[in-house]
C-alpha cells in the first residue's frame, strides 16, 4: 500500500476515534503538502487529544510548537510526527492567550513552550519558566525595544 493511502486510512481512524471519544467537540482535518495533516481543534481540547493520540496511536514525537500571530489571534501548531506529520492547530484569542502545558505528558515540550511564551506572550498553565530562554535577562524589565518580538504589532511598544 502506498504511503499516501496508509496516511489517509490512519487519519480516518484517528478522526473516527476522536469523534467517538469527544462527541460534543468539533474537529476538522486539512491535508497539507509533504505528508502533513492538520487537525483543527479548540484550545481546551489540545491536552485531551494529545493524551488520546499518545495512548491509542503511540504518537509521542513532538517535533516542535509553532506560535504564529495571524492578526486575529495567536495560532499554536503542535507538530507531531509518527512516520507522518500530524499537526494540531488551535487559535487563541488575544484576550485569552492561555493554554494548559503539555510538559506533564511530554517533558520535551518545555523548551518549545518557553520559546512561544517569551516570543508571543502565550501563557502555558503549569509551565515552569525560570527566566528567559533566548532573550536577554533584562528583557522583561523593559530593556528591549519590544515586549514580544514575534507579535505583529511588535514595533508598537505596549
Amino acid at each position: 500500500m502506498s504511503r499516501l493511502l496508509t496516511q489517509i486510512y490512519l487519519f480516518e481512524e484517528i478522526f473516527a476515534t476522536l469523534q467517538l471519544a469527544f462527541p460534543n467537540e468539533e474537529f476538522s482535518v486539512q491535508g497539507k503538502p509533504i505528508d502533513d495533516t492538520f487537525l483543527i481543534l479548540a484550545p481546551e481540547m489540545v491536552r485531551p487529544v494529545v493524551e488520546l493520540l499518545m495512548e491509542k496511536f503511540d504518537v509521542y514525537h513532538l517535533s516542535t510548537i509553532t506560535g504564529d500571530d495571524t492578526g486575529n489571534g495567536v495560532r499554536l501548531l503542535y507538530h507531531f510526527w509518527s512516520g507522518y506529520g500530524i499537526t494540531l492547530s488551535t487559535l487563541l484569542p488575544y484576550d485569552n492567550l492561555s493554554v494548559p502545558t503539555l510538559t506533564g505528558l511530554i517533558p520535551g515540550a518545555a523548551f518549545y513552550e518557553r520559546e512561544v511564551h517569551e516570543m508571543l506572550g502565550v501563557t502555558f498553565e503549569g509551565l515552569d519558566t525560570p527566566g528567559p530562554m533566548f532573550l536577554p535577562d533584562d528583557w522583561e524589565d523593559g530593556a528591549g525595544p519590544v515586549r514580544y518580538p514575534l507579535r505583529q504589532n511588535a514595533n508598537e511598544k505596549s
Binding site: I34, S63, W81, G85, I106, P107, L150
Partner: protein, 360 residues
C-alpha cells in the same frame, strides 16, 4: 561535604560556541546542573518575515555554520511544495549529494572534537585531516567550503562536469578506508572505551519522553531517520541502512556517527552512478500562493523542521525553524547528574551541540 556551585561559560574551552552551565558539585562529583542558552540568538525567524523568498534562502544558510546546506534544502523543499514546482531529478540528486558530503564533514568534525575532549589527540588529527577531503570536494563543486549557496528555489545552481564526477569517486576511494580505520580504533581501542563507555547514558524511555532526534536517539535504540521513514526525494530511490545501537552512551553515539559516515559514502557513490541527465533547476515564481507547509529533513544532527506560511506575497508571513540541537539540549541536565567532573566534557560534546543552530 559542603556543596559548591561552579559556573562554566558562556565562554569556555569545551565548545567554541557560547553556552552557560552552573554545576552544583560535591567534591569531584556533579550533583545537578542548570543551563542558559540564547547568547547567539539573532532573531532569524523575525528577519525572514522582512525578506523575500530568494533572500531568505541565503538567510537560512546562516542558521548553522556546519550543516548550512540541509537548512536551505528544507526551506526550498517547503517553498517548492507551496509553488507546486517539480524540481528536475538531476537537481534533487545534486542536492542530496551535498547533503551527504555535509553529513560526513559534520561527523568528522564532531569526531575530532570528541577525541580532543577525551584527550585522544591522534584521532583528532586523523579525523580533521580526512575531513579536508570532503571540504575539498565541496569547494570544487560549489566554491565554498562551508557555506555553499548551492540551493535555489527550483533546484540547484551548480552542475556536475565529468571531471567532477571522476574526482569525487577517486576521493571517496581514499576516504572510505580512512573512515573504516577510525571505526576500528573506536571499536577496539581500550583507552577510548574507558573514557566513553557508560558515560551520559540515556535510556530509550528518556529519549522518547524528551523527543530526542538524530544520532543521539539512534544510539539509544530509537530507529528513526526522516530520510528512510518519510523519504523526501531522491531518498525514496536510494538504498541505505540506518545504523542503530542500544547502549545509549557516548561510545554508542560515536559508533553510530562513524557508521553513518560509511553509509554516506555509499550514498554518494549511488548518487553519482545513478545521476540522471537533464536540467538542474526550473524557474520559480517570485510570489508564492497562499498556503502553509511543514517541511522535514534529516540533518547530520537529526530531524530539522521548517514551518512556512505564505500570504500570497513575495515574503513569507511566518517561518518557524526547529533545529535538532534544541531538542537534544533538553537532555543535558539529566545527563549531567551524579557524574564525575571529568566526564562533563565528554557528555557535552557527545550530544554534538551546535549552539548557533539552537539559538537561531
Amino acid at each position: 561535604m559542603s556543596k559548591i556551585t561552579v559556573p562554566i561559560g558562556p565562554q569556555h574551552p569545551l565548545l567554541k560556541e557560547p553556552l552557560a552551565f552552573s554545576l552544583t558539585m560535591e567534591g569531584e562529583h556533579v550533583i545537578e546542573s542548570s543551563m542558559r542558552i540564547g547568547y547567539v540568538h539573532r532573531g532569524i525567524e523575525r528577519l525572514s518575515q522582512e525578506r523575500t523568498y530568494v533572500q531568505n534562502v541565503h538567510l537560512f544558510e546562516r542558521v548553522c555554520g556546519i550543516c548550512s546546506h540541509v537548512h536551505t534544502t528544507t526551506f526550498c523543499q517547503g517553498v517548492e511544495a507551496l509553488l507546486e514546482l517539480e524540481v528536475p531529478p538531476r537537481g534533487l540528486y545534486l542536492r542530496a549529494l551535498l547533503c551527504e558530503l555535509e553529513r560526513i564533514h559534520s561527523h568528522m568534525l564532531w569526531l575530532g572534537v570528541q577525541a580532543r575532549n577525551i584527550g585522544f589527540d591522534t584521532i583528532f588529527m586523523y579525523a580533521w585531516r580526512d575531513r579536508e577531503i570532503v571540504l575539498d570536494i565541496m569547494e570544487n563543486l560549489s566554491g565554498g567550503r562551508v557555506s555553499h549557496a548551492v540551493n535555489i528555489i527550483g533546484g540547484v545552481r551548480i552542475d556536475l562536469t565529468p571531471e567532477h564526477h571522476d574526482m569525487i569517486l577517486k576521493q571517496l576511494d581514499i576516504l572510505e578506508p580512512q573512515i573504516e580505520a577510525l571505526l576500528g580504533v573506536v571499536e577496539n581501542e581500550r583507552s577510548f572505551q574507558a573514557r566513553t563507555r557508560n558515560i551520559g547514558v540515556l535510556s530509550l524511555e528518556q529519549i522518547r519522553r524528551y523527543c530526542v532526534v538524530g544520532p543521539v536517539a539512534r544510539a539509544s535504540g530509537l530507529d528513526m531517520d526522516i530520510r528512510r521513514d518519510a523519504p523526501y526525494p531522491p531518498y525514496d530511490q536510494l538504498r541505505f541502512r540506518v545504523p542503530v545501537r542500544y547502549e545509549g552512551d557516548a561510545w554508542a553515539r560515536t559508533m553510530v556517527r562513524i557508521l553513518e559516515m560509511v553509509e554516506s559514502v555509499h550514498l554518494c557513490r549511488q548518487l553519482l552512478t545513478d545521476l540522471p541527465d537533464g536540467p538542474t533547476s526550473v524557474r520559480a515564481k517570485r510570489r508564492v500562493p497562499p498556503g502553509e507547509v511543514v517541511s522535514r529533513a534529516e540533518a547530520p544532527r537529526g530531524e530539522v523542521i521548517y514551518y512556512i506560511r505564505s500570504d500570497g506575497s513575495d515574503k513569507p508571513a511566518r517561518v518557524k525553524v526547529r533545529t535538532p540541537t534544541l531538542t537534544n539540549l533538553i537532555t543535558l541536565p539529566d545527563q549531567l547528574q551524579n557524574i564525575s567532573m571529568a566526564d562533563v566534557s565528554v557528555i557535552l560534546s557527545g550530544v554534538d551541540l551546535c549552539i548557533a543552530c539552537a539559538d537561531r
